[in-house]
């Protein structure tokens, strides 16, 4: 057991410590908070790199190498609950990605949140989130993973609702928490079931873990009442947790609303880390899903469900993204769609396929979100793309990096990482024996991805700026009015209100991420599949003829064609004649208004949920309120009346019976005394008289007594 594996717990502990210390600091200690958080992330990054190096050294032996450390936590009965952490290739890549992207986002936040007065609180929550996410990654025990999972949910609630005085933000945070909670409920049931069947929740424990060979075979062998294998049942329940956290259908509704949070939050949580946690979870418990200890896909029911859910989500979210007008909301739906792709990849291709897309997606989606944040910051908090345009003149660096991200997401070939990772997914989907429909759906989704990203880029960065220059923005207007300047005297200069480029603290990370979006693609190409071999333990070899294989070539050419069609369609609709004014209707809306409205309103999912679940909740709350105020209240009142009645009876008894009797006795005694005292009045003649009478009486008694 080498040093890094023993001290793997330091990786989440450093940000946790930073969060704790920052929580104690006051709001004005900005430099302290920021430097503490960034410093802790740097520390975690260094440790993650050490862990990665260690995992590299132990890999390549033909099977996946895992090193873990378990310790006993507490004992109940004669069983011990063990917790621990594991270092295997999956952990290593996730650690590196989370720490690296997290560090970049932390640095970005320094610039983005510099005007916010709750700067310190933001960094406290960010550090806490990072700690929780890293805890999820290294956990070797399903219970520990669940604990950190819930912590991730909590911190995402805190971060989404960061501007809590905005009612929409508070509502969004609540929605996120509750929706993921629904998934977590099933997750918890899965945990309980697994514990009852397997007797342990530890993943890898010297052959006794629930994911190791003995555990898996036992779980696969047992069958539930419906003929389903126990492992499949548990896997499906755990997958429900992943559905909630990763925003798959039908629990996707929270993710677009979560854009109420600041842009770094969106980048961190909804691009790189939290939503990836769901995918990571599926990858972690893949032996349960596939029914075999390795990471190889099989045709189990659980994996089929994962595949279908992913495929449907991918297309569903992509269609909605086509009709959105908020720059971050387009990216949010895009995230949902890409997560669907990842789930699809996990289902058909195994751990390596899904995780490859997760890693590349983390980088270019974070890049896109941060770029969107830069755009918003530069346009003075404007988020509607209809009110933007021509921004490449004002923000060249942002435009360049954003374009790189967009091309990576769309899957523009060769240079960009998204192409290679998405290609792997398409390849595996094509090779799936059970059905070809996921493949068709994935292809359609890729087309839509290219289309809507092109639309967004054209509307935001090309054409002319649709807001009249010389007029100040709303925020500036409000601040001037607040200062007491009347409307006629507001400045009307030429450049007032013009968008501007963001400061280097914001554009620096953009550049770094853009570079990564390009480079990372090359670690997983069919020519040299280092990433796949690292994760699955297969032997790595450079295969020069890999690209020439017919199925590989087929999917590559197909994806190139799809991207071209998507980009071309976008350009044809939006690029030839740029949109002139902000109020002009969207081109698609003009063509098909009903369909467009349906997509714009997200298939009325929110309305349906509101009517069904929220309405049910409201009705139930009303029923409970009625019950409480009439039934329970009535009972309580009844009890109160009974008690009052008893006390009244008590009082009556006390007053009339006890008091009166007592008083009567006292009065009688006093009266008797009064009477008796009349005998003692000092009138001697009366005494004498009584003596005389008594004497007479006594003598008579004696006479008669003697006589008889």
């Amino acid at each position: 057991m080498n040093w890094i594996v023993q001290h793997l717990w330091l990786i989440p502990a450093l940000p946790l410590l930073a969060a704790g210390l920052t929580a104690l600091a006051k709001q004005r200690h900005r430099k302290f908070a920021a430097s503490l958080s960034i410093g802790s992330m740097i520390g975690s990054l260094i440790l993650s790199c050490l862990a990665f190096k260690d995992a590299l050294q132990h890999s390549g032996a033909g099977e996946v190498s895992r090193q873990y450390l378990n310790f006993k936590w507490f004992q109940f009965g004669d069983q011990w609950l063990k917790l621990g952490w594991v270092l295997d290739p999956l952990t290593a890549v996730m650690l590196a990605m989370v720490c690296f992207v997290g560090l970049l986002i932390f640095i970005y936040s320094v610039g983005y949140m510099s005007h916010d007065e709750n700067f310190t609180r933001f960094f406290c929550f960010l550090s806490l989130f990072a700690a929780a996410m890293l805890g999820v990654v290294i956990a070797n025990n399903l219970l520990l993973l669940f604990i950190c999972w819930e912590l991730v949910g909590l911190t995402s609630y805190l971060l989404i609702g960061f501007w809590y005085h905005k009612p929409s933000a508070a509502a969004a945070a609540k929605k996120a928490f509750i929706t993921t909670r629904v998934g977590d409920l099933a997750f918890l049931l899965g945990i309980a079931w697994l514990y009852s069947q397997a007797g342990t929740l530890t993943f890898y424990d010297h052959g006794q873990g629930c994911l190791e060979k003995d555990g898996i075979t036992k779980l696969v062998a047992q069958a539930t009442a419906g003929g389903m294998a126990v492992s499949t049942g548990i896997a499906l329940l755990i997958f429900c947790g992943a559905i909630g956290k990763s925003g798959q259908m039908p629990l996707h509704v929270w993710l677009p609303d979560a854009m109420e949070g600041p842009a770094p939050v969106s980048a961190l949580i909804h691009a790189a880390t939290m939503v990836a946690a769901g995918v990571f979870l599926v990858a972690r418990v893949y032996p349960l899903m596939s029914g075999s200890p390795g990471g190889i896909p099989s045709g189990t029911a659980a994996l089929q469900v994962v595949t279908w859910v992913g495929a449907i989500t991918a297309v569903f979210a992509a269609t909605i993204a086509v009709a959105q007008t908020d720059i971050k909301r387009i990216l949010a739906y895009s995230t949902v769609s890409q997560l669907g792709f990842m789930m699809l990849g996990l289902g058909v291709g195994g751990i390596a396929v899904g995780m490859f897309h997760l890693i590349t997606h983390a980088f270019f989606k974070a890049l896109l979100f941060m770029g969107a944040g830069s755009v918003i910051h530069g346009c003075h908090d404007e988020q509607d793309i209809r009110r933007m345009g021509g921004l490449r003149k004002f923000m060249p660096l942002t435009f360049a990096t954003y374009a790189v991200g967009m091309m990576a997401l769309s899957g523009v070939p060769i240079l960009f990482s998204g192409f290679w990772s998405k290609d792997e997914i398409l390849h595996s989907a094509h090779a799936w024996k059970i059905s070809h429909w996921p493949f068709y759906l994935a292809v359609f989704g890729a087309l839509l991805t290219a289309f809507y990203m092109t639309r967004q880029v054209l509307l935001v960065f090309f054409g002319d700026y649709r807001i009249a220059l010389g007029r100040i923005t709303r925020t500036e207007q409000y601040s001037l009015e607040h200062a007491g300047v009347p409307a006629e005297e507001h400045p009307q200069s030429e450049l007032a209100g013009a968008p501007h480029e963001s400061p280097p603290s914001m554009t620096g990370p953009l550049v770094v991420l853009a570079v990564c979006s390009v480079i990372l693609g090359f670690i997983g190409t069919p020519l040299w599949p280092w990433f796949q071999s690292f994760l699955t333990g297969e032997h790595l070899r450079f295969d020069g003829h890999a690209l020439a294989k017919p199925d590989v070539l087929f999917t590559m050419i197909l994806s190139v064609v799809v991207v071209t069609i998507g980009v071309g369609l976008g350009y044809w609709l939006y690029g030839r004649k740029p949109v002139a004014t902000a109020e002009e209707a969207d081109v698609l809306e003009a063509i098909q208004p009903e369909v467009f409205t349906l997509l714009r309103r997200k298939y009325y999912f929110d309305e349906a949920y509101d009517w069904a679940f929220v309405g049910l909740n409201r009705w139930w709350a009303k029923a409970c309120d009625w019950l409480d105020s009439w039934v329970w209240n009535g009972l309580v009142q009844l009890c109160a009346y009974v008690v009052v009645g008893i006390s009244w009876v008590n009082r009556v008894i006390d007053e009339y019976v006890v008091n009166l009797s007592f008083d009567e006795v006292c009065r009688r005694v006093a009266g008797g005394g009064n009477l008796l005292s009349r005998l003692q009045d000092g009138r001697v003649q009366r005494y004498l008289r009584i003596i005389g009478i008594a004497l007479t009486g006594l003598v008579l008694v004696l006479i008669w007594g003697c006589r008889s």
Binding site: Q685, R689, L695
Partner: protein, 165 residues
Amino acid sequence: MTAGFAILALLTVASAVAAMTLRNLVHCALALAVAFAGLAAIYLQLSAQFVGFAQILVYVGAVAILIVFAILLTRSGEPVAGSVFSGSWIAGVGIAAAVFAVLTAMIRSSRGLARRIPEPPQAAVRDIGDQMMSQYVLPLEVVGLLLTAALIGAVLIAMREKDRP
């Protein structure tokens, strides 16, 4: 029932009644003295000579005079307005009559009274003295104590309280 006894009895009873009913208290006191004298004569008739003389010495000579002194000191000799009898004198008379009736009934119905009249006993003063010094010496001493106490007590009670300056 001899004539002497009858006369003496009548005298005693009459003077006793007079002592009880006369209006003027001094007259009552004098009537009382006559009653005591009558009783003394009856004692003489009963051969209790010492007792008879003692009766005259003590009762007539001291007690009656004492009563007269008391009447004088309490100004009871002055004429009283209203009745000298208390309000419910009938009850008192009734009670006295009842007592008398009972006693008489007892006396009459008793069979233990001796019919035979014995000889008059000899109660010489020497015998009385002998008895007093031998058998009844304790009561004698106690009576001496009693008389002393009564003397001191009477003086104390009747003494005029010192006026506080």
